[in-house]
């Protein structure tokens, strides 16, 4: 029941989820269920996005103007809310991507076995 102190976990998750959503929408407009399926598929089933995080994130990104939403119709005639990446969102994606790459390179470097120790 104990939460770890501080907000780091939530912040990280949120930021990462944003990045993932923006990245997913780069391939074209999608509805919420589609985004969830796509994330799941493209992470080889490792990442399952909780709907309780996905929908708030979508609506927040929409409020921030990074994605736009409109009502459309799905392949099986279901009325759905479709999200599109905006120009602003595209720039944000690039920014977050490069930050993410920097971060993962840095973490990678830390975690990579050091040659001196190995030898």
């Amino acid at each position: 029941m104990n939460e770890p102190r501080g907000l780091s976990r939530i912040e990280l998750l949120q930021g990462t989820l944003d990045l993932i959503i923006l990245q997913t929408l780069r391939w074209g407009p999608r509805h919420g269920y589609g985004i969830a399926q796509m994330i799941r598929a493209s992470s080889a089933d490792v990442l399952r996005v909780d709907t309780g995080s996905l929908y708030p994130a979508l609506h927040r990104l929409e409020r921030q103007g990074w994605i736009a939403a409109e009502w459309g119709t799905s392949e099986n005639k279901q009325r759905v809310r479709v999200y599109t990446l905006t120009a602003k969102g595209r720039k944000q994606l690039e920014r977050e991507r490069s930050q993410w790459e920097q971060l993962s390179r840095a973490i990678g470097a830390i975690l990579a076995p050091s040659p001196e120790v190995e030898s």
């Binding site: 269920y33 589609g34 399926q37 909780d50 929908y55 927040r60 409020r63 279901q78």
Partner: protein, 865 residues
Amino acid sequence: MSERDKEIQEEIAAHLELSIADKMARGASRDDAERAARAEFGNVTHVAEVTREAQRGSGLWLERLAQDLRYGWRALRRTPAFTAVAVATLALAIGANSAVFTVVNGVLLTPLPFRDAGRLYAASYLPTDLPFELPPGLDDRLYLEYRGHVSRFEQVAGYQRQALTLSGAGDATRLAGARASANFFEVLGVQPALGRAFTPQEDQAGNDQVVILSDRLWRTRFNGDRGVLGTTITLDGILRTVVGVMPPGFTFPAASEAWTPLALRLDAGNSFIFPVVGRLRANVTPDQAKSELEAIARAMPQDPRASGFHPTASIIPLKDTLTTHVRTSLLVLAGAVAFVLLIACANVANLLLIRAATRRHEMAVRVALGASRGRIARQLLTESVLIALIGGALGMLVAFVGVRGLLAMAPAGRIPRIDEVHMNGWVLLFTLAVSVITGILFGVVPAKSGAGRQPQEALGQGTRLVGGPHHRLRSVFVTGEIALALILLTGAGLMIKSFLLMRSLDTGYDASRVITMAVDLPPIAYPDAARLQAFHTALLERLARIPGAGRVGAVSYRPMGDMGIMGDFWVEGATPLPHGFSVDKPTVSPGYFAALGIRMVAGRDFTTADRAGSPGVVVVSETVARRLWPNESAVGKRISMVEPPGPNDWLTVIGVVNDVVQDAGLTRHSTIYLPYLQTTSPFFINHMTFVVRPATGAGNVAPAIRASLREVDPAVPAQALQTMDQSMMDTIAEPVFQMRLLATFAFLALLLAAIGTYGVLAYDVTERTREIGLRMALGATPGNVLGMVLRRTAALALLGAALGVAGSLTLTSVLTKSLFEVKPTDPVTLVAVTIVLMLAALLAGYLPAQRAAGVRALTTLLLHE
């Protein structure tokens, strides 16, 4: 449901439909697919809610606040007893603070009702090393010089309070008024509502028979008739033409009803000191104005008679000159009432801690359900601020009643600017601010400790917790409030002791049943001593004829009046006066000593034979006799009031009487009494107080006294027709007012501290029921248990009292000026209030102690197993 909520619902429904369709496409039945989709999706309501929150973004905190408030309100309604006690405590304490603030705001803080009042300053150049205090002012010559040369002020105006007798229109009455220079109204930035201000020509002696009326006087005496302009009214027997009426509310200085020109008339032998107000030029500091005043004053030719005096220049905000004497007492009251609020805070904080203990489960469940600590703490704090705000709202009602009570209790005419005391927006703002701060103050500790619990700990422990972590905190609060209550009690105790000493003071006269009446005889109708004496003789004769009048007499300045004449004198044989020895010099009639019960120690009283033409005589008081003629009889010795004495200026001492207390200083004065029939200067007898001691069993003689005056001269109004006791009470009205308020606040503090002590001990006993039952099962007697609880009470109270005594010793010195013959560190008072406080605390502890002693061993054990 809003449009946005519907959209979210629809979006979620679509999600589920798509998910179901997917699963059915992979071969699942409709039912299985639906079930799986729902399971995968999770809690629909929750998702809708968090999505909605994300959508709102920054509006969220408001939403949360509203939610916290709703939740807090529900929580408060669930515990009505707690809420009622907390709200009532706070309403009283916040209300008392708002009431005192209302007075402080009106008297000390509100700017004077003049244009740009912050630039109005009083200029003063007077000695500050005299044995008595002079109100700020300039002497007439310096004023004229200063007025002509000042550059730091736009201009300066002189004024002087005066009392005037208005006769003609209706009954003759005394009015408060002022003499004012022609530019007085312009300096203050207030113009007459009707007519005009004085012209510089009218500000010249001999050309000054004009008057400006206050709005109130104009409405009450002249029916608000505009035709009054240009007509004449009689003031002090002088006909004056009404040239203006001031706007409503303008009564400066001090409740003035009429203004006449200052019209200075310089006197070669005397100088005349009066207040001077100026409007500082823009961008000039008071310090610069002060240097200028100093320079102008130093350049004046020095009066050789004033060589012993060391005047200093000062430039004082005009507002401060009105309120100096009440400033300290008002601030003391504000401090006292703030203490009451702190005590109330401690009480409510303790109540919250106790309630938090009973809500442990609720909080633990909320934490377990995922509420963060911050959220819970904020929730609890919102609750306490809500309590404080409700308390503050009711406090406004308390303040409304309180302000009326304060104004009713305030000594008439002693508190300046009392007309400006109103509950206004500032009071509302103050109350709001105090409520919020109070709510945070008493809420923060319970909120932090309430939210800081580990849920499994709290959930697991159930009700078996003994003592608990709040135990110590509660004791700290109780100790603190006992300490604060003791400080207030000490303050009140000192004031009460001082009051008792004043009341039991041997004044040197017997005031019981004595009635006095003062008159001022205008110089127009009574230009010389002979006519004044004739008036006095006639009135004394009429008073003596009143049935039941007993003894009658007259004195120029009675004890416990607001005026007196003091000075020095010369003793035959070139005996020098003891250094700094000065005496009161009242003029009296034969029979005055007997009427006021002043004892003849030696010699005889004046008689009607001691009149103009007969040898000059005086009666001296004991101290005069003892200081001047220590080893001989004073009777027969000669003194003079004139320097150098001519052969006819010697006055023979014919009698010695005891010293009397003359004024608010409440010390016995040395006095030389002069017979009114031998006085040659009108100045000494144009103000006279007649003294009547009714015979035993006589009814109310006041109407007959008034009637006698009307028979002698209907144009002379009766002033201060009242008993000597009343005069004494008027004299000490300010300390009495302060004492009553301090006593009220101290009582409130004591009550709150007792309630707080009771609450904590009662809760202790409840919490320890099991332990007590165990002790009893093991052989403790009810007496042991009673003693145990009382010992804990005494320990808390003693610690609080010790802190309180320490606090008192450092704080009560603020009362020094209000105390009479009592030191602020008076040990008797400290011991007495400590005893009172201990008794109150033990009484508060006795009820729970008795309940503890009544605990039955078996029941408690059974109850908890």
